[in-house]
Symmetry: C2
Subunit: 329 residues, 2 copies
Amino acid sequence: MSNVAIVGATGAVGQEFLKILAERHFPVEELRLLATKRSAGKKVLWQGQELEVQETTHESFKGIDIALFAGGSASTEFAPSAVKSGAVVIDNSSAFRLDPEVPLVVPEVNPEDVKNHKGIIANPNCSTIIMAVAIKPIFDLAGIRRIVVSTYQAVSGAGREGIEELEAEVKAWSKGDEMTPAVFPYQIAFNLIPRIDVFQEGDYTKEEWKMVKETQKIFHAPDMAITATTVRVPIFRSHSESINVETEKLVSIAEIRESLCKAKGVIVDDDPSSDRYPMPWFSADTDEVYVGRLRKDFSIAQGLNMWVVGDQIRKGAATNAVQIAELLL
Amino acid sequence: MSNVAIVGATGAVGQEFLKILAERHFPVEELRLLATKRSAGKKVLWQGQELEVQETTHESFKGIDIALFAGGSASTEFAPSAVKSGAVVIDNSSAFRLDPEVPLVVPEVNPEDVKNHKGIIANPNCSTIIMAVAIKPIFDLAGIRRIVVSTYQAVSGAGREGIEELEAEVKAWSKGDEMTPAVFPYQIAFNLIPRIDVFQEGDYTKEEWKMVKETQKIFHAPDMAITATTVRVPIFRSHSESINVETEKLVSIAEIRESLCKAKGVIVDDDPSSDRYPMPWFSADTDEVYVGRLRKDFSIAQGLNMWVVGDQIRKGAATNAVQIAELLL
């Protein structure tokens, strides 16, 4: 049995941690809920116990075995203290992901990397996790030369405030009221915002670079060529991705389909004859990555297109982190 | 002065034809509004005249110089009669687009093809037009070897009924009522549907094949490799496209930017430092194609990514058709 802390326990990912620990019967001895001062004192019911949210401090981690960090600036501030206290940190922020000392893990792809941790294990970016699960069987079967990916990312990627902003904007629109964006730079209701996170090198956004560099690290494939365009869409919580893959070896779509059908964590939902393909509304609240619209790319010799959907808060964040914790047991 | 007929005058594209003919001061002598029996008798105010919608019949085109067909099954049924009556048909349906006898025209790309018509000129698919305008300067500057495109298409692509369905679903959701899709195969509010039009060869949709084959025809470039994934998004009327281009020649992004800035029909809206990029909400009701997020694709030697937005009903349909009509004058 482990003593587990959740840092950021009142946010969208933090709340999902609570649900997933219970659902997966994670062997929790003590569950300590930590958040900012503003949320301290809130009561949360979990598995029949009433737990009080405490303010995160450098002393919060005494006796904790596993600290799940939901993301944000708390990671840089408190993860080192958690490690010093003897906890293993599983961190959902981007702070440590590209640190060569920190394993970056998707359990379906590189579970063995967990062993190399020095106190911190990073949970990848949500879009990266979802893509990694879907491309892993193809990587194993045929190798991957190049990926061109365009994303359709839900507002949940901006946390609970993102979800509330889309709700508020749509309700304002329904009443003919004005919409006043605060979380997103522009109105997101009935709109698309082709910029997620800050702009960086080469006019790519940080989100786009995460999909490139994190994927290369997870697969230990620094030469896997990847280019990404990441877009916020007015969807509540599942991310979708249009992924074009050029493989190293020539394989048939039938072989790829078979490898996807057998893969852990993947559900192939792909039947044109009965109009089946993955859609975000119908994949919310699930842990699998859905793959559909699988087809040969006729524009190159060894290419394929696919459409991939996964719940951003669950497999894209909380579930993946708890799966990492399970690997530690 | 020309006698102009609009077939499908009461639909979303038909209504836009009326607006655009007036806005562009098209030299109209008589304007004849045609539609299905259901809409016959409706009165429409245009340029101070009250016009009555008539049922389309094979005799509807006497004395008509230019017949603008908004799309749908009326084209196959009545376009031949219109041609027989001496009219030039500009057809927004997909019926004749790939017919080698029928020019398929985007005025910014291949205006000269208009001359070869034998009575019918086809207006391309909306997503195709928007992409064609954006890639034309790149095609001229550097040649295009391959395109990987993923679309984010508005509900207006399914006509007025599509717009009304999204409105109705969102209003139902706001009140906690159930949503009942009829136009689209599944709920579109807060959802993405990665299937537009019917499935065809290779498990591609007809919409995806249109983007491939129509683009190759417009550019007279049967070897330009194109692969497309087309997706319906809960946006009212502008289509967006994430376009990855591999060029034939090596050119810099600065050169491409310059060619786009000079191009007819293109507005470059691209400034990361002031958070500027094209968005569908802000491009509705305009005739230009907006290009942003222009950047080098580091995954190949001669690649670029860009984000392109255009009003599906205007440049993607009605404006392009009226521009073709202007070429005929």
